[in-house]
Amino acid sequence: MRVGLAIGGALTAGMLVLAALSLVWTPYPPTAIDIIHRLSRPSAAHWFGTDPFGRDVFSMVMVGTQDAVAVAALAVLLGTAIGVPAGMLAATRGGWTDETVMRGADLTFAFPAVLTAVMLTALRGAGAITEIIAIGVFTAPVLARTTRGAAAAIWVQDYARAARALGRTRRGVALVHVLPNILGLLIVQVTIQLSLAVLAEAGLSFVGLGAQPPAPSWGRMLNEAQTYIYTAPLLAVFPGLAIAAAVLGLNMLGDGLRDRFDPRRRRSAQ
């Protein structure tokens, strides 16, 4: 599984490098229109061909990485910022707090990202912020559950009980003993959520709920490709490959990290 970690790490790093590189360099400006050379096939000049406006698809896929990375990262950050404290609180306090947090998680989890995004879009227009909130809302309960489950398991350990018996406050034990011990697991879960977020972002922008033109986004490129499926079928290939590579990288990284951090706790991370 070392190999998996390496491949996953390499793909993820590659995605980040591509996103960073696209900030300063792309083969062509991603919004440069060239009507005469519209819908050209892949060639030495245009590696992935050109789109209906004659824009370079490779450059657009490169710049699309920014959108995927930024939205996924911020959405998961939002989910983590809500989910982890909520889960910690539930495990630390127990009782009614626990019950409330967990039922709240059930409730939030019942709103699929598409549903939230549809409503947010109707309200304040499509865009990256809409996507971040929609995906974040869906991510928070997952992290809350993971955190609560893992933290509860630490609380019944001898050292946690001992610390409590020695007069430490609940909060102190939670911060000093519990949190550091579940950090590895959380990192794994966050990685997995990142890959789900990339998928969700692509889906949302595919149905027009995501980034607005002219900012290239993988999902919207695929949507546009669908109308040209009879005349320029290759347009539907490259953005999809980019999504798959990004998700594959994050998944393999997550799996690899899981094996590394805690081989025994595979199942609780599911």
């Binding site: 440069a32 027009g208 607005q212 033109p213 002219p214 669908q226 109308t227 009879y230 005349t231």
Partner: protein, 492 residues
């Protein structure tokens, strides 16, 4: 040859796979949008008319393929000298699909209902000139007007002015009952509307036994449905990018006709910097219309130079007024004191001409130093925000009403063009009685618009028809968004 055989077999298999497709007395037509209800007197959506106009519902007059007014349920009429009294001779022996006889009381009811205070007719203003409807005999209707209205016969041909029966009027939205050659049979929401031939039709019986409208708005799905034979025809085909594919295929007829849709980049003339004519002209110079037509509409559609399409009467070709010239655009912007990097928002409604056109326009404006942000909006929001409140900088939109030069003379229309000169010209045009004088004024109006460029006039939408090569009698042109299939039939 063998390949062709295989192809034909494949086509047959697919054809029968779609089952029920096309024995030669039925027709399945594609619809880009599902109608919200089937009552043309209670909604503005063109999809309602595309299904019901002339097929289910008929008015006293109707519009033919060339946009001319023809007699329909009124076999003829007389207009008094003062233009205030219209005496319609009604056809006899006409009944509604439920057996209700059509006579003058129906005319009185239909017009009265549309003009009533509680009316929800989308074009209520068409009925405003009517003072009274009298019935000296069952087959004669006398309509008195409050003021002479030269467009009255044309107005009464609109889908909003069709004849409806008192008993069934309230139910027409879900189960339309009219006097037309086809009877409503079934509506499966989200999927199809089925019509059957009216065996008691008053006119020449239609050749088709059944007509089905299928809602297939997605361009790729519409293409697939035609290729597989699921659809026999799409008279308003939503996928210009697939037209090339059908042109090469002898199984299909591709008919590119005229449409009244004028695609414009509407500018809010009340807002900076668009209140300055030089800025509007600069934008006109900055945009390559030909490229927009190529990329946004696959090269179909014709450039326009004002708010008027080439098939309209007294058309002047003004497309050369602002040739693509970014240098000149920059110079004009500098003259007007517009700093490079000035930004504004273009609102884009859902249709692909707006989405793609908007993206291209933003790219062209970028080249002359204007930073146009794009914002996609749903129709509901566009209507409320852009049209209703004029709360916008710019928007890409198609105006589909025919010969609607009047909107530039209206006070507080959403793009806020305010030109006394234009208003005066328009008033002269309305008052003009002499045909030559009218034509001259129409040309002056177009020139005035081109000079002021209140909006950037981009191109006239084509009406793209794609249908089975054996089909006859479908309309190539679109004088109104309608699908009159009364005369459609299959060649043997």
């Amino acid at each position: 040859m063998r390949q062709l055989g295989v192809f034909l077999v494949a086509a047959l298999v697919i054809g029968t796979g779609a089952a029920y497709a096309a024995p030669p007395d039925t027709l399945t037509l594609g619809l880009p949008l599902e109608p919200p209800g089937l009552d043309p007197t209670a909604g503005a959506a063109s999809a309602i008319r595309e299904v019901t106009y002339a097929n289910i519902f008929q008015g006293l007059t109707h519009i033919d393929e060339n946009g001319q007014v023809q007699p329909d349920l009124a076999s003829g009429w007389e207009i008094s000298k003062d233009g205030l009294t219209y005496t319609f001779k009604l056809r006899s022996g006409v009944t509604f699909h439920d057996g209700t006889p059509f006579d003058c009381s129906i005319v009185k009811f239909s017009y009265g209902r549309a003009a009533a205070p509680e009316s929800i007719n989308a074009q209520k203003q068409l009925f405003a000139p009517i003072a009274s409807v009298d019935c000296p005999s069952p087959d004669t209707a006398v309509v008195e007007l409050k003021q002479p209205t030269s467009t009255f016969l044309y107005d009464m041909a609109w889908g909003d002015a069709v004849m409806i029966a008192p008993k069934t009027a309230a139910g027409n939205k879900a189960h339309p009952i009219g006097t037309g050659p086809f009877v409503f049979s079934r509506w499966v929401p989200g999927d199809r509307i089925e019509l059957l031939r009216n065996d008691h039709y008053w006119g020449a019986a239609p050749k088709l036994k059944a007509v089905t409208f299928r809602v297939i708005g997605d361009p790729a799905a519409a293409t697939a449905a035609l290729l597989s034979g699921t659809l026999d025809a799409y008279t308003n085909f939503p996928a210009p990018e697939a037209v090339a594919r059908f042109r090469q295929d002898p199984r299909f007829t591709v008919a590119i006709g005229h449409d009244e849709g004028k695609v414009i980049l509407a500018l809010n003339n009340a807002r900076q910097p668009f209140s300055d004519v030089r800025v509007r002209q600069a934008i006109a110079y900055a945009i390559d219309r030909k490229a927009i037509i190529d990329a946004a509409y696959s090269g179909l559609g014709s450039p326009i130079g004002s708010h008027y399409t080439p098939q309209d009467p007294s058309y002047v070709d003004l497309t050369g007024a602002y040739p693509y010239d970014p240098a000149k655009a920059k110079a004009l912007l500098a003259q007007a004191g517009v700093a490079p990097g000035t930004s504004f928002t273009i609102m884009l409604p859902p249709p692909s001409y707006a989405q793609r056109g908007g993206e291209l326009i933003a790219a062209y404006l970028q080249q002359v130093g204007l930073n146009a942000k794009l914002q996609s909006v749903a129709w509901a929001q566009w209507l409320a925000q852009v049209f209703g409140q004029s709360a916008f900088d710019a928007t890409v939109i198609a105006h589909t009403e025919a010969r609607d030069l009047d909107i530039y003379a209206r006070p507080h229309y959403y793009f806020n063009y305010a030109s006394d000169q234009y208003k005066t010209l328009y008033a002269q045009y309305v008052a003009a009685t002499d045909a030559a004088k009218q034509a001259d004024l129409l040309q002056q109006l177009q020139r005035q618009l081109s000079a002021d460029e209140p909006n950037i006039f981009l191109f006239a939408l084509p009406k793209i028809g794609v249908w089975n090569a054996k089909l006859r009698g479908l309309w190539t042109n679109d004088p109104m968004p309608i699908n009159d299939v009364t005369g459609a039939y299959w060649a043997p």
